[in-house]
């Protein structure tokens, strides 16, 4: 599922509320049939919710391997190594950089580590807050089209917040359009893009949603 919307729409605030970082004052957060409203982040991690924030998404002073170990903190120690091996098979580029300090990674490598760290715990639900922010158009496309799609194929429910709206809709099976803190529209990407008034409803003005092959750079 993709949540899209303009700057200041409240997308990151929504995710922080879902993940227990911000306090929810109205409404409920459901995980399956369980009400997890205002549950602390560590409790949600135990329940299988993985979260990759937009910024400060890795432990910079730790090595890549130590970041992955922290991702598996809730697992029995003997299982962590196995899970790291499995995750590095999904992201083989990480294998050669396990001993490197995380703050030495490039933007793309860093985001790959952030997602891999979350995957070590083998979460049921993966929440990604603008994973393509600060990435080059090529890397952003690769992340959304290949890595996020792969996560969904692994059976994970992925909640994706993105500013690259069209690119996000290309990988999502359901999209919600958030404007000024409220859901303006929701539906399958096909339905939404088929609406003649979609662009107008999205922002009320210019949206950056002109037809394109997907990347934000091209959309602009």
């Amino acid at each position: 599922m993709a949540v899209i919307g303009p700057n200041g729409a409240g997308k990151s605030t929504l995710l922080k509320s879902v993940i227990g970082i911000l306090r929810v004052t109205s409404g409920h957060v459901l995980l399956g049939t369980d009400d997890v409203t205002n549950h602390p982040p560590e409790e949600l991690a135990r329940r299988g919710v993985g979260y990759v924030p937009q910024v400060q998404d890795i432990f910079e002073p730790l090595t890549v391997l130590e970041n992955l170990e922290m991702g598996g903190y809730l697992l029995p120690p003997a299982r962590v190594r196995t899970r790291i091996d499995e995750v590095t098979q999904v992201f083989p580029a990480l294998t050669s950089m396990l001993k490197r300090r995380a703050d030495k990674l490039s933007g793309g490598e860093r985001k790959m580590l952030a997602i891999a760290r979350v995957l070590v715990l083998d979460p049921r639900v993966l929440i990604l807050d603008e994973p393509t922010a600060n990435l080059s158009p090529k890397l952003a496309d690769n992340l959304l089209q290949e890595q996020v799609r792969r996560l969904a194929e692994m059976g994970k429910a992925v909640l994706l917040v993105e500013q690259r709206a069209r690119a996000a809709m290309q990988v999502a099976s359901w999209t919600s359009v958030l404007v000024s803190g409220t859901t303006r529209l929701e539906g399958s990407p096909g339905e939404l893009l088929g609406r003649p008034d979609f662009e107008e409803l999205f922002l009320g003005a210019g949206t950056g949603l002109k037809p394109s092959s997907g990347s934000e750079e091209e959309e602009r």
């Binding site: 993940i19 970082i21 602390p40 982040p41 560590e42 949600l44 991690a45 135990r46 993985g50 979260y51 924030p53 400060q56 998404d57 890795i58 432990f59 910079e60 002073p61 730790l62 090595t63 130590e66 170990e69 922290m70 991702g71 903190y73 809730l74 120690p77 001993k99 300090r101 995380a102 760290r117 715990l121």
Partner: protein, 294 residues
């Protein structure tokens, strides 16, 4: 020349005491984000707890353990009862400094009322001296150096090789992300206060063992030296505190030999000021045990 070599030997003892204290102080700041100015008051309180045991006939080494346990429990309670509630209310870093300063004054004055202003000393076996060239140290001083080396290696091993130590570093680096990983950061911080409190207690007692006499009024003096070592190495960096302790410990003793014992702290702190001008973040701000190992 022999004078300088002998001073270097005394510097080894001083730096050992400073290193134990400064590593605990800097870890408290690095991981829990509290500049705990009450650290020296906990330290001097531990000195007197050990003194009470020692004068009740307990060996100084068992009294050292009692001082460490007292320091650990006192620091843990200080954080749980006082600092954490203030932090939860959103008190700023500067506000927390004021809270810890007020706490320090209260502890010192209560201790002064209980123990009095007198100079006292531990009952400890002289144990003879050990001579290595021009370096002459008592057995107790050599053991103090040994304790410091063991503790520094233990802290290094904790932070580098254990799950708990890595969780401490993760909590220091990004507490919100640590919680998202399922790390129980409150419990990790509790353990940090216990460990650093024990270091504080041990540092106090070995400082007392290394002095002919001590008094409640020694507390503020400890704090200045500890902060100097921690800041010199890079605030929040345990390896930085170790390096800062080496520099401050040796400079104070070598300058005493070169100029006069009266000026030894002046020289040490002049170097601190110089380092701060040239490298304000401290010597090891980008590295250390809170950073990646290796």
């Amino acid at each position: 020349m022999d004078l300088y070599i002998a001073a270097f030997g005394f510097g080894l003892v001083s730096l050992s005491v400073i290193a134990i204290a400064a590593v605990g102080f800097t870890m408290q700041f690095g991981i829990t984000n509290v500049i705990n100015l009450a650290y020296s008051s906990v330290m001097i309180s531990s000195v007197y707890v050990a003194y009470a045991f020692n004068h009740a006939g307990v060996s100084i080494w068992l009294a050292l353990i009692a001082g460490a346990i007292f320091g650990a429990v006192f620091s843990f309670l200080l954080n749980r009862v006082l600092y954490t509630p203030f932090q939860r209310k959103g008190t700023s870093l500067l506000g927390m400094v004021i809270v810890s300063l007020a706490t320090s004054l209260m502890i010192q004055n209560v201790l002064l009322a209980i123990a009095g202003p007198y100079n006292v000393s531990y009952v400890q076996p002289s144990g003879g001296t050990i001579r290595l060239g021009a370096i002459v140290l008592t057995v107790v001083q050599v053991l103090v150096i040994g304790i410091a080396v063991v503790l520094m290696l233990a802290i290094h091993a904790l932070l580098t090789f254990t799950r708990l130590g890595k969780a401490m570093r993760a909590t220091a680096a990004n507490p919100t992300l640590a919680r998202n990983c399922g790390i129980p950061t409150s419990r990790v911080i509790d353990v940090v206060w216990l460990i650093t409190g024990a270091l504080c207690g041990i540092a106090g007692v070995v400082a007392g063992m290394n002095s002919d006499t001590f008094a409640v009024g020694n507390g503020p003096g400890y704090l200045i030296t500890i902060i100097a070592a921690a800041v010199l190495g890079g605030a929040g960096q345990p390896y930085g505190a170790m390096l800062g302790a080496v520099l401050i410990g040796e400079m104070t003793e070598l300058s005493a030999a070169a100029i006069s014992a009266d000026y030894k702290e002046v020289v040490a702190f002049a170097v601190l000021v110089l380092v701060m001008v040239l490298r304000p973040q401290g010597l090891l701000a980008k590295r250390g045990a809170l950073a990646a190992a290796g």
